[in-house]
Symmetry: C2
Subunit: 190 residues, 2 copies
C-alpha cells in the first residue's frame, strides 16, 4: 500500500502511528473489465483509491450515456455526490480495464477521522483538491469551446486516448461522436 501511503502524505504530514491505524481499514479488490463497481439505485458506502486500471463514471438518461470522469492510477474516487448525501446513486462506475483498487467503508473512514486529527485534515484537504478540479471543470465548460476542451484533454491526459474509445471521449467532452469527428477533421486540415 506504499502508493496509497505516498499519495496521502502528499496532502499533509501523517505520523506512522496514525497512518498505520488508517491503512488497516483498507481492503484490496479487483474488478474485471466490463464489471460494475456501482449501478443506479445502489447506495455507495465505499471510498476508492485506484492502484492500477481505469474506471468510467457515467450516467445513462433517456438512453444517452454521459461520461462524467475517467479515474485511473493514483486517483481517489467514488460517486462522491451519492456518498456524501447517503442517497441512492444515479450513476454507473464501470471498470473499462481490469482494475485493482483499495477501498474503505464510510464507517471505517469516520473511525479513522475520529481517531486522527491529521487524517481528518487529509480528508479536508482532499476535498479541497476535488473542489479545485471541479472548479476548473466548470470553468472549462463555461469558457472554452468544444475544440479547445478537446485540445486541452489531449494535452493533459494523452494516455486516455490510447485506453478509451473515442465515443466515450466524445461523451466526456459533452459531444456526439459525429461532433468530435468533425472537430478532429477540422484540426487535421490545418
Amino acid at each position: 500500500m506504499e502508493d496509497l501511503k505516498k499519495t496521502i502524505r502528499s496532502f499533509t504530514d501523517v505520523s506512522d502511528t496514525d497512518m498505520e491505524f488508517g491503512l488497516q481499514f483498507f481492503k484490496m479488490k479487483t474488478f474485471k473489465k466490463g464489471t460494475f463497481l456501482l449501478k443506479p439505485g445502489q447506495y455507495i458506502d465505499d471510498f476508492y483509491f485506484m492502484k492500477t486500471g481505469c474506471v468510467s463514471y457515467y450516467t445513462i438518461e433517456g438512453g444517452v450515456t454521459r461520461v462524467m470522469e475517467f479515474f485511473n492510477e493514483g486517483y481517489f474516487f467514488t460517486d462522491l455526490y451519492a456518498y456524501i448525501q447517503e442517497i441512492p446513486s444515479e450513476c454507473y462506475i464501470e471498470a473499462i480495464e481490469d482494475s485493482t483498487v483499495y477501498t474503505i467503508s464510510k464507517a471505517d473512514q469516520l473511525k479513522v477521522f475520529d481517531y486522527s486529527h491529521q487524517l481528518e485534515r487529509f480528508g479536508r484537504l482532499s476535498m479541497q483538491r476535488t473542489f479545485v478540479i471541479n472548479f476548473q471543470r466548470i470553468n472549462q465548460l463555461r469558457n472554452l469551446s468544444n475544440q479547445e476542451r478537446y485540445l486541452q484533454l489531449l494535452e493533459k491526459r494523452p494516455t486516455l486516448f490510447q485506453r478509451v474509445p473515442q465515443y466515450l471521449i466524445a461523451s466526456y467532452l459533452g459531444l456526439t461522436p459525429v461532433g468530435l469527428s468533425k472537430i478532429r477533421k477540422r484540426l487535421s486540415q490545418k
Copy 2:
C-alpha cells in the same frame, strides 16, 4: 453573530467553548454597492459569510464578463480557487447591493482548526457542501439546455430576478443578453 453560529451548527455539533473560540476571530465589514471585495491580481486571505446583501463573483476575459456565482444571505464565500491555492485571483467579487459580511483570515481560520477538531470537521463538511453544489452545477452545464437552466434558476432562486439585472443573469447562465431574451420570448409564446 447568531446567524453565523446557527449556520455553522447546521453542519455539525460544536461546543460553546469551541464556538466562542472560533467566533472571536470574525470581523464585521460593510461594502457599498459597486465596491469590490476582490480584484484580479490580488491575493485573497479572507473567508466570508454573507449577513445581508449580495455579491457577484465574476471574471472579465477579453472584455467578456462571466458571472460564476451570486452570493446572498447565508452563503459562505470567497474566491475559493485562489484562496485554497494561495495564488493571485483572476476574479472580481463586487457588491451588487450594500452588503454586510463577517470575515476571518486564513491564518486565524487555521488557528481555529488547530484548536478545535469539531471546527475542523465543520471545515471538511462545508467543503463537502461546496462540492455538492459544484457537482450539481457541472451536471446542469452538461445535461441541461440553456432554456432548462433558465427555468431551473427561476425556480430555485426566484428573488435573484428582482435583485439582479437580466444581462448578469444571462452571463451566469452562459448566454448573451440576446440569447436569454430569445429564450424568454420563446417561453412566453407558449
